[in-house]
Amino acid sequence: MYPQQVHQYLKGFFAENECPIIGEENHSLTVQLTVDIDKRIMNRPFYWQYVEATNSEPNPAQVTFITDQTAMAGNLFGEVIHYGSPRLNQLFHATGELGAYVQLFEKVDHAMGQVILTPWLGVNFKVSYCCDRTKEMLYSFGINLLTGVIKEDFHESIYASDFDTVPADNVFHVQYIIKPVRALERLNAAVESIIEQDDHTWAMEAQKRWQRDQRVLDYFYEDVEDKPECYEIERKALEEQYESKIKIDIINGGLFYLF
């Protein structure tokens, strides 16, 4: 993420969360936080505890973020923020929490007259393969809540569309037939079936590394009748190090009424 991208991201994030931008230069941004965003990104729980306990006037922070230190001339006072910096990670985390669930209605040109929108459940999954190494994949699925048809790369297909948060006058949205919870179960199954068909050599190799290290350990304690406690500790460490598992996380998802 280049400094310019960080800058754009910050602007977008604060605009979406109703934090007014008070000043902006090419490489810096001064913003007045709201109480909610201050709590999420500023790391000062004790202050907020104090405000709430004493019922005093909350005073959310005003911050200047410097998005490109190298390009900065003059001596502006502020917090340098870049890809990898802890503050940006907090903002990413907040974005994750504040951008997890949507219900949206596709915008349709009024010239088309009255149109019917179809309900879909869209969900974005992150799948992680873990042993002593990791690899992650994204899967985006949508399921038609009338027919049960499943579509891959769902997010990409709707990425460029415009949506309203409430249905416009000229649209009629059909109620779903398949309940969202059932639909979610089907998408979960779809992800699992993809995982099942994937190549899992990685897990076999981790298993081999594990067995090799376990043999070395057993050799060390070969002639010891009562294995000492450290043997058990080492054995457990190998298990934690090499045991392969798969994690499925849902990044976000929601109900989409599409034309």
């Binding site: 870049h82 990425y159 050799y219 934690e240």
Partner: protein, 502 residues
């Protein structure tokens, strides 16, 4: 295979379908997806950490080391680069990579007390890893990356507190402190769970090959067999071993060692020489008198002989202590009387000559406090300014002394303990006034000046008095270096630029 999934998202979703909570905005939804996609770890191999550290410019050998440890050694390794090549950077990269990949949530770092602040600074500033120093009564269960001194960690009640935690990664700096399996710290580390583990030391062998055996047995018990099979397979004794090629290969499976010359960086030369010194007839007489002392243990005798090679002040101090302990002894009093008449210290004169010829900053290392003080007086009487340095100084005093040396004095006189944790690249001359038994101490001393950032050739002078115990020390140092090179790999010159076959 185990599949883990969380129902958290589903719960939030159901509550929104039932109109209990607010939906989010399309923009934030898209931003969230884009961020996750950007941060995705696309492959099992390759370093992700560098993408997140735009201000860190790691050197090629540091990146190689990090990749090797993660991909070939599965995260358990000895980092044994020569002094000054940035082992801390390598460890930081590896830790960062595991944190990013979610394989390490909590890490424990053990370091000598004098290096804790340096670790905190490097990890927080260079790597954005929120590392915190251990303090009594601090809530360690809430700290994900904890740094503490080995001396604290091994003692109760700290020891028990650490054992209660569950760390995914253990990093131990100056790991040669674990060379002896009978020590408290060794036992402590043995009892720690080591899912991922890095041992940092420039000197995995200091005296004999068993030290390396114990170090590796801590990291990966069984890798070199158990003690008996190890000993018999390599016919290992303190200064001897066979089948060293095979052993070297085994060692290289768990150890990364970069040498200055492999780094691709232009290093300045290291000019090392042994400077032979001849005693005056009077000094020789006292030395011989000490050698013929009766009723003295061999250890005490060797100590006295070494001290006599250093200064009459160091010798006198020990002799006086012996008198205090054992009562009158005509023999000792005779030596003391003769000692007091000595007017010339041949070694100090030689040191002075080197300092004068250098016309530059010089560090003198001695093993004895009494010699340290004597040398300061002696140099002062010849119009040469000096500052003293010893390892017991706290951080601010160290920094002050370093500052004084840089700005005001020509010579820094350090005792052995001053060897670790100070960087003095502005100096190019090192005199080893007394020789230690352990060659790696010499390497650590030289490493204070011959490290990244040194712009000049460095000159090392090893002083040794002819026909004394110091010649035996030299021979033993050669033997130990030979064992190190057979098992670990070549060493930069520490005794002399000319290789001697033993």
């Amino acid at each position: 295979m185990k599949i883990e999934r969380s129902s958290e998202w589903q719960e939030g979703f159901i509550s929104r379908v039932n109109h209990l909570e607010k939906w989010h905005s399309w923009s934030l939804y898209k931003m969230n997806y884009d961020i996750v996609k950007m941060k995705l770890i696309p492959d099992f191999t390759g370093l992700q950490a560098t993408n997140y550290l735009p201000n860190l410019k790691p050197l090629a050998h540091q990146l190689d080391a990090a990749e090797t440890v993660i991909e070939r050694m599965n995260g358990k390794a000895i980092l044994a680069d020569e002094v000054g090549l940035g082992k801390t950077i390598e460890a930081g990269l590896i830790l960062k990579e595991y944190l990013l990949r979610g394989l390490v949530k909590r890490a424990l770092i053990l370091a000598p007390a004098s290096l804790i602040n340096q670790w905190i600074e490097e990890l927080n500033i260079k790597f954005h890893i929120p590392a915190i120093a251990y303090k009594k009564n601090c809530p360690i269960e809430r700290y994900d990356v904890l740094i503490m001194s080995m001396d604290t960690a091994k003692k109760s009640p700290h020891r028990e507190r650490i054992y209660e935690q569950d760390y995914d990664m253990i990093i131990i700096d100056e790991a040669h402190k674990l060379k002896n399996n009978k020590t408290q710290i060794y036992e402590f580390v043995q009892g720690l769970k080591k899912k991922f583990c890095l041992l940092l030391t420039a000197t995995p062998i200091q005296n004999d090959v068993f030290e390396l055996y114990y170090l590796i047995s801590l990291l990966k018990p069984g890798h070199l067999g158990n003690y008996d099979t190890f000993q018999s397979a390599f016919s290992a004794s303190k200064h001897h071993l066979e089948h060293n090629d095979y052993l070297k290969e085994l060692v290289n499976q768990v150890m990364v060692r970069n040498r200055r010359e492999d780094t691709g960086i232009e290093w300045t030369n290291r000019c090392v020489q042994i400077v032979p010194i001849t005693f005056t007839a009077e000094e020789r007489e006292v030395y011989d008198m000490i050698g013929s002392l009766e009723n003295t243990g061999s250890f005490a005798l060797i100590t006295l002989q070494k001290e006599m090679c250093s200064s009459k002040e160091a010798t006198a101090l020990t002799l006086t202590n012996m008198l205090d302990e054992h009562g009158q002894s005509q023999e000792i009093e005779a030596i003391l009387a003769k000692l007091m008449t000595l007017e010339v210290n041949s070694k100090a004169e030689k040191a002075l000559e080197i300092v004068e010829q250098a016309k530059d900053k010089v560090i003198i290392f001695t093993e004895y406090r009494a010699t340290q003080i004597y040398l300061q007086w002696y140099l002062h009487s010849k119009g040469i300014t000096s500052v003293l340095f010893n390892g017991k100084f706290n951080k601010s005093k160290r920094d002050y002394m370093k500052h004084l040396f840089k700005e005001r004095a020509q010579v820094l006189i350090a005792t052995e303990a001053g060897g670790e944790g100070i960087n003095l690249q502005f100096c190019h001359h090192v005199i080893n006034y007394d020789l230690p038994w352990n060659p790696m101490k010499l390497e650590q001393r030289i490493g204070r000046v011959h490290r990244l950032g040194q712009e000049h050739d460095v000159h090392i002078y090893n002083l040794a008095i002819e026909n004394t115990i110091e010649e035996k020390i030299l021979a033993l140092l050669h033997t130990k270096i030979d064992v190190f090179e057979k098992v670990v790999g070549d060493l930069d010159a520490i005794l002399t630029n000319f290789k001697e076959s033993v």
